[in-house]
Symmetry: C2
Subunit: 384 residues, 2 copies
Amino acid sequence: MARVAIVGVGHSKFGKRSDASLRELAFEAYSDALDDAEIESSSIDGSVVCSATHYDKQRSPAGVVAEYLGLNPKPTFNVEAACASSAVGLRTAWSLVSSGLHDVIAVVGVQKMTELASREIQELMGRAGDVMWESPFGTTMPAYYAMYATAHMARYGTTEEDMAAVTVKNRKYGTKNAKAMFQKTVSIEDVLKSRPVSTPLKLFDCCANADGAACLLVANATKARKITDRPVWVAGLGLASSPMALAGRHGPMTSFEVTKNAAKSAYEMARVKASDIDVAEVHDSFSITEILNYEDLGFARPGKGPKLLKDEETELGGKIPVNIDGGLISKGHPVGATGASQITSIVQQLRKEAGDVQVDGAKIGLAQNIGGIGMYCSVTILRS
Amino acid sequence: MARVAIVGVGHSKFGKRSDASLRELAFEAYSDALDDAEIESSSIDGSVVCSATHYDKQRSPAGVVAEYLGLNPKPTFNVEAACASSAVGLRTAWSLVSSGLHDVIAVVGVQKMTELASREIQELMGRAGDVMWESPFGTTMPAYYAMYATAHMARYGTTEEDMAAVTVKNRKYGTKNAKAMFQKTVSIEDVLKSRPVSTPLKLFDCCANADGAACLLVANATKARKITDRPVWVAGLGLASSPMALAGRHGPMTSFEVTKNAAKSAYEMARVKASDIDVAEVHDSFSITEILNYEDLGFARPGKGPKLLKDEETELGGKIPVNIDGGLISKGHPVGATGASQITSIVQQLRKEAGDVQVDGAKIGLAQNIGGIGMYCSVTILRS
């Protein structure tokens, strides 16, 4: 398989962006990525737009985004895998480039959510669960993940404090990320006292709906070497699926098979193992999700996620720093943009451009992005 | 670039399918394709689901479709380019296979539309136009295409009878297609007398919203030769974009630049020219669209589309038979399924399995699929 690199990354400010439309958010990230790569838009062969329709009125977002970025008449289309859309967008762009069909592709993850009322968003998000068997019974995303949290607590004795510690860690690093929605620390106490959303998950256990965009410029080896002297190579691309309906799944609700499967594919393709990873971004849609991900990615043994965190191994300076860009919990979760945002942070780490949160000697990084209630998982492994 | 073939095709009955949900429609087409290729589901490495969300309640359709098809834990995601979704799905699957990432991929185009009232569908379809500058002013899809019709009439003297003749031709061939929504002939008179939708387009000038699914099984050369002795090779894959907003386009509204660009790419990749094409499926969302497509694909000179039709050159037995499976006008237009449906018909032609409508000696076929009001166009060229 032909080698493919990320040659530029861009990121809009995430948050409640009443000042920017969908297309404008996309432009922020795209122009940032062009500046980062020091190339012109004319060098781009086409775009893969990644947006989990439809939190705003615009249908078929690739059309309006490609127009606004000045990318007509080049190919464009939309890739969607719920919250994992733009990680899957990178895999798609990788294929378009690795196959020889294109030389340089822009992956543009973008979402405009906050024009809807929070309850409308929850209704739409719930419909990324099974609308025949589950969502009519109230399975919004917090409710789904709360069931996983409860199961982990019952089986392994995980506590609400253990989960709160994820938020405390991620919000601490969020203070270093100018693009994050939340840049203030919170305490364990703050998390525990925040209002219940879906027991045992409270407000500060949950990431926030947000507007935002992130962009990855992807090139074949020849172009990559011409464009930049700091390419970051795509080494592993794991993608797996799981039944959408919980009733279709096997085993206890204390882990996501989909993550294990995606990780296995990605580790095999990259020829590395969990212990080789120097820095990771994992999908902390809820505090419990990060704990499950530690275990499913092989950073900790089953049930030992909370201990990994307590031992400060996922902190900067630890064995495997996780979400030290603040994670979804600090950055917010503009669904279509999240995967590309995680990958942007890993690219910055591997280029040694992560500033205050730089991991010394980081050479291999991982980004894990879950779609919906785990019907998709993408694991991306990058190398400097 | 590594060679890729279509090794199996499947097609559900199109129409008002109150008897089948989204997932069931997908299964109809998928199981039909497995039967066609004489392989088991275990031979499939993953799926690319193509659906223009969200004409039904289910969000993130790839999740529920992959589950229902029994394709977990294999990779899946959704590709969307409005009405061109599953043609773009084929291009995406081609890349996944040609790059070496996968061996055999199922492209599943599916749409469930008719649970919505017609006016709701029109509202949602209109939002595949620009929601900031155009759709609030009433630009539903018929209104958009009516403007193109009016321009073609004004510039070239095209008449309502000329457009009606497209419907008459396509409905005639629709009588031979058991999967088509409409299987009755209509006369020029019937079309002219049908009720106005958006002048000059009348009811019978318009394709119908429908439920349906179509599936393409795509394999690399090694697998293709093992699976089947009648592979159909993907020779050209053109994809282009155009500004979503009409105001962003140049030139008269008598042709689609996006089709010309996509055709140019596809012809170049396949190393053929328009006159080499033996049989074609083109996007007859409206009767006028087929006329524009004749011209934009190079089958007729500008303004000469109606003459090509009058001369019976696009009939079975003519120089370039077009939409002899009945086209969207007979089959109905389940948005996400349409591209794969067109390609299915071309595959059957190139395998000499098109029965009553077989084109003698067909070796090179073309399918053209427009997304929205021409912000996307895909041109696929296949060879036996």
